[in-house]
């Protein structure tokens, strides 16, 4: 084996140009893989973060029957005594905020809006005092100011505001059904425009103070949900199981962000299949490029193979010799590819790529509005290295086997 490794190393040097060309093809494929994977993982990480920070929190407490009817945002299934729940959560040092989500019709009219119109919407009533414990909106109010309790103010997502032609100070009407089915009309004024990193919020977010919603919707202190924030959103099962033991929460449902953001999670999983296919294609392209040069390399050395067989070298040893050479090329390619990928990933992680123009017009499903950053994924580098070597070895296998199947006299007569 030592001899084979030495011979293989010498052959790699001897066919230096071809070694470099083949290794370069592998390196390019791997660098592309590293960068693509970094971007996809970065996008997923940021999307999950933005989903939790702006849409779902880490988990949500709600009436057990609410979830099944959540699309209609019903006010029938509510938490009647949110204060006792909040007290219980506070005793466990869990950051929490009450909210009420309801469906209604947003009505605007010409002057000051560009034209008359109405829109079916979901409105989120938030407690301005405590919402910041779970969500991070305040820093993204780009125009106007945050909501204040007791005033019929509305904060709009920036893209929705843009689509409506809304500006701070514009009046609007929210028409909805109260908890008991009565038609109610809330006269409100746009007090702030919210331009968050979450496109779902920017595209459709309408926020109202919770006490105003309580008043108009006859909620009598009830809310539709209490949203929670845990220190580590990756591990929510344990804290949720503990909270379920609390008497105040025993009859309520607690859903984690994965369930609350199930639509996005499903899309992310579908995306990861698509991304897997893209990454697979990258490898196929690299494999085609590599196999061509590998094929040439081995066929050009058919006579050498014939000579080694004539001298009594085992077919297995000859195959191993060529596979070691291929692995060497793969290793050089993998090292170069990883280096290239790592260098390319530095600006991806630090500066990112600005997709804001694309995300504004197209709903790609990602919870990101602008700059997507790459991520350092150590496993990708390990996989890339292994794939580089495996790729080279696999594409060398077929031509080597074919060359070894050739009769020795025929192999020796090859020019």
């Amino acid at each position: 084996m030592k001899f084979l490794v030495r011979l293989a190393t010498k052959n790699l040097w001897r066919y230096g140009r071809r070694t470099l060309i083949t290794a370069a093809a592998i390196a390019l494929g791997l660098a592309t893989y590293v960068l693509l994977d970094s971007m996809l993982v970065g996008a997923d990480e940021e999307s999950v973060r933005n989903l939790i920070w702006y849409e779902t929190g880490s988990a949500r407490v709600m009436h057990p029957d609410y979830w099944a009817e959540r699309e209609r945002a019903p006010l029938r299934h509510v938490i009647e005594d949110p204060d006792s729940v909040l007290d219980a959560l506070r005793s466990q040092d869990v950051a929490a905020t009450p909210r009420t989500t309801f469906s209604g019709e947003l009505i605007v009219w010409r002057d000051p809006f560009p034209e008359d119109g109405s829109l079916l919407v979901h409105v989120t009533a938030i407690d301005p005092e405590t919402d910041g414990r779970v969500y991070r909106f305040d820093q993204w109010i780009t125009e106007g100011r945050p909501l204040q309790a007791g005033e019929p103010g509305v904060v709009l997502g920036s893209w929705l505001a843009e689509d409506l032609g809304a500006e701070v100070g514009y009046p609007l009407i929210i028409s909805a059904r109260s908890r008991y089915g009565a038609r109610v009309t809330i006269d409100a004024e746009v007090v702030g425009i919210l331009n968050s990193p979450n496109p779902v919020i920017n595209r459709g977010g309408i926020f109202l103070p919770l006490d105003i919603a309580d008043l108009y919707l006859d909620m009598e202190g009830a809310v539709t949900q209490i949203d929670l924030r845990f220190a580590d959103y990756a591990r929510v099962e344990g804290p949720i199981a503990e909270l379920k033991q609390l008497p105040a929460l025993r009859d309520l449902e607690i859903a984690d962000w994965r369930l609350l953001g199930a639509d996005y999670i499903a899309m992310m999983e579908a995306d990861s299949v698509g991304s897997g296919i893209i990454l697979f294609l990258v490898f196929v392209i690299a494999a085609v490029g590599v196999s061509n040069t590998m094929l040439m390399t081995i066929f050009e050395r058919t006579r050498e193979i014939g000579m080694m067989r004539a001298l009594g070298m085992d077919d297995r040893a000859i195959r191993n010799l060529f596979l070691i050479e291929a692995a060497g090329i793969g290793l050089i390619g993998a090292a170069a590819g990883i280096l290239l990928g790592a260098l390319g990933n530095i600006p991806m992680v630090r500066v990112g790529i600005d997709y804001s123009a694309m995300f504004r017009t197209m709903d790609a499903g990602y919870r990101s509005t602008g700059v997507l950053y790459g991520a350092w994924v150590p496993s990708t580098f390990v996989i890339a290295a292994l794939m580089g070597v495996a790729l080279a070895v696999i594409v060398a296998l077929v031509p080597t086997r074919r060359a070894l199947r050739m009769d020795i006299p025929r192999a020796l007569s090859r020019q």
Binding site: N11, L311, G312, I408
Partner: protein
């Protein structure tokens, strides 16, 4: 030592069947210096390939040192080639990335000879073929004659039963060819190694002490000469 009995070799060339050998029988004893000669297509290279276990006969029997090669598997044939046979090719066929020393030692590496012994035997045979001081040169740094000397050394270093040489002078000028043949004669005399040549070169035939002529796949004459 080498026994060839009624050997036939046929192969397909498109729609036609080519009869390369038609029942050849031949016996070669230890220490012989034999040329198998004949015009192109006479079957001399085919016969050499069959004796060299790099091709298989359609019918008939070949045995080397009393061991029948028919029915041997690929690995057994490789072992026979590795241990009992040495090859000298028309176009030298050295491994380009290895030095003269390494090319010769390659044969011993395959037989699993310990490093120290392999080194000693390689240096000695390189000295015998007149390449002392050129051990570290690669094939590209050697002349054609020198490369063929390396090939002869590679064939001889493992002390094989027989050295098979296919047109060994075809790629050499006549002076170098003579020198190589003289070297082989000397090695034959010194080590009593059997040499079997296939050739249509009169010069090689002149050196042979036994000349077997083939024509259309049959032996037409088998003449022993005095040294």
């Amino acid at each position: 030592m080498i026994s060839v009995t009624n050997v036939q070799k046929q192969y397909r060339d498109g729609d036609t069947t080519v009869h390369a050998l038609r029942g050849v029988s031949l016996s070669i004893e230890q220490g012989e210096f034999i040329s198998i000669a004949g015009p192109s297509g006479s079957g001399k290279t085919t016969l050499l390939n069959l004796i060299g276990c790099i091709d298989t006969a359609t019918a008939g029997e070949i045995s080397i040192d009393g061991r029948a090669v028919a029915g041997c598997g690929k690995r057994e044939l490789a072992a026979i080639r590795r241990e009992k046979l040495g090859f000298v090719f028309q176009s030298f066929n050295l491994i380009p990335v290895l030095t003269a020393f390494e090319n010769v030692a390659f044969s011993l590496t395959l037989t699993g000879t310990p490093d120290a012994e392999a080194r000693e035997r390689t240096m000695r045979i390189l000295d015998e073929v007149g390449l002392a001081g050129m051990e570290d040169r690669r094939p590209s740094q050697l002349s054609g004659g020198q490369q063929q000397r390396v090939a002869v050394a590679r064939a001889l270093v493992k002390e094989p039963t027989v050295v098979l040489a296919d047109e060994p002078t075809a790629n050499l000028d006549s002076r170098t060819g003579h020198a190589i043949l003289e070297l082989m004669v000397e090695m034959n005399r010194r080590h009593n190694t059997t040499f079997v040549f296939s050739t249509h070169d009169q010069m090689v035939m002149d050196y042979a002490r036994r000349l077997t002529m083939l024509h259309d796949g049959e032996i037409v004459s088998d003449e022993r000469r005095s040294a």
